[in-house]
């Protein structure tokens, strides 16, 4: 049997590759806003979040006050609290406080998605393996985008942009096909997301709020209409 760490590495490979292309775009954007490659890479190495970083460098470039930076990050990234809460129910016995603090740093949308699909509890060595390649991909991609972004042909950049979304679909669709309730929650979340994005009055909501409303709305509806039997969570 493969060790947990190696299994984690393998599961993290597609995430790392996906990050390479997404953070590449971030690196390009950071340069455009007047940051240095070192600053862009430092941000990626300490934050590990796409939407939050993009908003962050925009605020930096505009010289925003620190309080505005804090509130913006809180809003955009609040969804992670929901994901961490969800993962707290899947922590293995070997996950003490220190190890939880390490894993928390890597709890991105994608790592969360893959970790949630882990059968049974998440072991620390698996979590660690899962984090390594995405972290390298995210930091390395930022560096590449910052120093060599303008060299990549536009058509290649736009084709890579969809990679991360394909990955998300690969997580959701097979389960939605198998479980009718998950399928309904998925459809509901999609409808909510489209409504919040395009309807008047609410379309000005930031991406972070929109995601929280979608996640809470669709999941709560799912929990009320189709409660999950105990066995499925184990």
């Amino acid at each position: 049997m493969q060790s947990d760490f190696r299994r984690g590495l393998k599961a993290g490979l597609p995430i790392g590759l996906g990050y390479l292309s997404v953070s590449f775009a971030f690196g390009i954007q950071a340069m455009a806003l007047g940051l240095t490659p070192l600053e862009a890479v430092l941000i990626s190495m300490t934050n590990l979040t796409s939407a939050g970083q993009l908003a962050g460098i925009t605020l930096m470039a505009g010289g925003a006050p620190l309080l505005e930076m804090a509130l913006t990050q809180l809003t955009i990234n609040l969804r992670y609290a929901l994901m961490s809460l969800s993962l707290s129910q899947k922590m293995g016995e070997d996950m003490g406080t220190g190890r939880r603090m390490i894993f928390a740093f890597g709890n991105t949308d994608e790592i969360f998605a893959v970790a949630s699909m882990e059968k049974g509890n998440i072991r620390f060595s698996y979590a660690l393996g899962l984090m390594v390649l995405p972290y390298i991909g995210w930091s390395g991609g930022t560096l590449l985008g910052a120093v060599a972004g303008s060299l990549l042909p536009a058509f290649l950049r736009s084709a890579l942009g969809i990679a991360i979304y394909g990955m998300f679909m690969a997580v959701v669709l097979p389960v939605a096909r198998r479980e009718r309730a998950v399928c309904m929650v998925t459809v509901l979340a999609a409808l909510l997301s489209v409504a919040l994005r395009y309807l008047p009055f609410v379309s000005g909501l930031s991406g972070g709020y929109r995601m929280i409303l979608c996640a809470v709305g669709a999941s709560a509806a799912g929990a009320a209409l189709w409660p999950v039997e105990e066995a499925k969570r184990e």
């Binding site: 430092l42 961490s84 736009s158």
Partner: protein, 113 residues
């Protein structure tokens, strides 16, 4: 940007982001028994991921509302290919690459016509 301006911003940004992720994971130590909450948390990943894909995937190849529609068509092509491949239960990397190929194929067709 001078480092004395950059560094405090970086610190605030990283700290806020980390605390949001860390506190629930460290503080929530017991198993939630409430059936509603358990079901809710079970559905969260699917709802979050779906909300992230829809409708953002349409803009993932550079389409800007009111602008050239070709990137939008390419994104739809990639999305359809990814849907088909994901539906069959293929792995994450396979679906991601298939989506990129779908976009590339549509781009190539646009070059021909």
């Amino acid at each position: 940007m001078s480092f004395s301006v950059f560094f405090p911003q970086l610190l605030v940004m990283a700290l806020v982001t980390y605390l949001i992720r860390m506190l629930p994971l460290v503080l929530m130590r017991h198993t939630i028994r409430n059936r509603f909450v358990r079901s809710f948390l079970y559905y969260v990943p699917y709802a979050v991921l779906t909300a992230m894909v829809v409708p953002d995937i349409l803009y993932s190849t550079g389409y800007v509302p009111g602008g050239d529609v070709r990137p939008l068509v390419c994104a739809i092509a990639g999305m359809l290919v990814a849907t088909g491949v994901a539906w069959k239960g293929k792995g994450l990397l396979t679906v991601a690459v298939a989506a990129c190929l779908g976009v590339a194929l549509a781009q190539a067709l646009f070059l021909l016509v």
